[in-house]
């Protein structure tokens, strides 16, 4: 076998029998999957103990394309599903891969509680500022004045600043990159894997078919150039100052990297304190099989 016949590093992670995927030309989700795959390779994570959970939406379709134990759950509920998975089998590395609408609108309640509890989950949130799969409706992240199918005269709600939200709720690792920042993104994902607790990585990504097109912001490539031009790397920036506007600057970087005891450590400590020797570790919730 020639040393030249090296496979695309992402290939072993894909369900190649399901290619090509459904994402549009210029959509950034596939780019994020490349970064995810690189992070998995670099961090040498045991793929057998990795589980990926997603919700509904364009980004939610990632679960169906990766060759891992993957769960395509209901809209907004990837995080509680993942919580159950992690608590039943603490040895699992559980990643949630979902979109901004899924995670912060219908899933918002679960997002803040998982961050509060500091459950050991890694959330990859692809933020294309819109509900893409359903045809381009306003999302809680849609910047003011943007045209969407449900705000045809321009969005006027204040948008969520997701890093600020999850930091306030208690996340221990919060970063934002765009799909232009492929190397940094892969590195961030790798760092999140080393972190115990609730990690949240927001990735600003183009939705050329809906968000960009309706707002006359060009295509995917134009958007990537915009990300390159307008992004400013500010590690440790106060998350309250990283809100997004439609054409303004995009603050990216690693904003939060702190340590707090994760949920399972807290439960363990409490139970041991209260029950002493009577406490039975739940490490093996696995039921007997036939």
């Amino acid at each position: 076998m020639s040393t030249l016949d090296v496979m695309n590093p992402v290939e072993p992670f894909l369900r190649t029998d399901r290619m090509p995927h459904i994402w549009c030309p210029g959509c950034g989700i596939g780019t994020t999957v490349n970064c995810f795959a690189r992070a998995l390779i670099e961090s040498k994570i045991d793929l057998q103990s990795l589980a990926l959970v997603s919700g509904i939406g364009c980004t939610g379709r990632v679960a169906g394309y990766v060759k891992l134990d993957s769960f395509h759950t209901t809209h907004g509920r990837a995080i509680p599903f993942a919580t159950g998975l992690k608590l039943a089998n603490p040895k699992l590395n559980v990643v949630i891969y979902s979109g901004d609408g899924d995670l912060s609108a219908i899933g918002g309640n679960h997002l803040i509680h998982a961050a509060r509890r500091n459950i050991d989950l890694k959330v990859i949130c692809v933020n294309n500022l819109i509900y893409a799969m359903t045809g381009g409706q306003t999302a809680p992240t849609t910047p003011g004045h943007a045209i969407t199918s449900t705000s045809p005269y321009g969005a006027c709600e204040p948008a969520f600043n997701l890093p600020h939200l999850v930091e306030a709720a208690g996340a221990v690792y919060v970063a934002r990159w765009t799909t232009f920042h492929v190397k940094q993104l892969a590195r961030s994902i790798g760092e999140a894997f080393q972190k115990k607790g609730f990690s949240f990585i927001e990735i600003i990504s183009p939705c050329p078919t809906l968000y960009q097109r309706r707002n006359r912001l060009g295509d995917g490539l134009d958007t990537m150039k915009y990300y390159k031009e307008k992004s400013k790397v500010k590690h440790g920036a106060p998350t309250g100052e990283v809100g997004l506007t439609m054409t303004g600057e995009i603050i990216v970087g690693k904003f939060v990297d702190r340590d707090r005891p994760d949920y399972q450590s807290l439960v363990h400590a409490q139970m041991v304190e209260s029950l002493g020797e009577r406490y039975v570790e739940p490490s093996e919730n696995v039921c007997s099989c036939g």
Partner: protein
Amino acid sequence: MGSVLALPCGGLVVAKGRVSIVVERCKACGFCVEFCPTKVLALSSAFNAKGYHPPHVVAPEKCSGCDLCGMYCPDFAIYGQRLPAQKETAPAAPLPEVTRES
């Protein structure tokens, strides 16, 4: 990070690479063409089955195998790989150090 390495003897090695393109997956988004640091690629005038113009290599000697194209491609249609290192004889004058932001 750069695509040039400094040798202890003072010479420089330029990494060489090769690009592989899965033509049928390409949707001609243009990311690879734009973000290749050495402008190895351009969209071709050929069509794939879906009617897109996939990229082709226009400057193969400039490819360092950095695989940025592979990392950017949303359709998993292209990737770069480093070829085994080629030793170069000491150049007449040192090349300027090049650093690349990605």
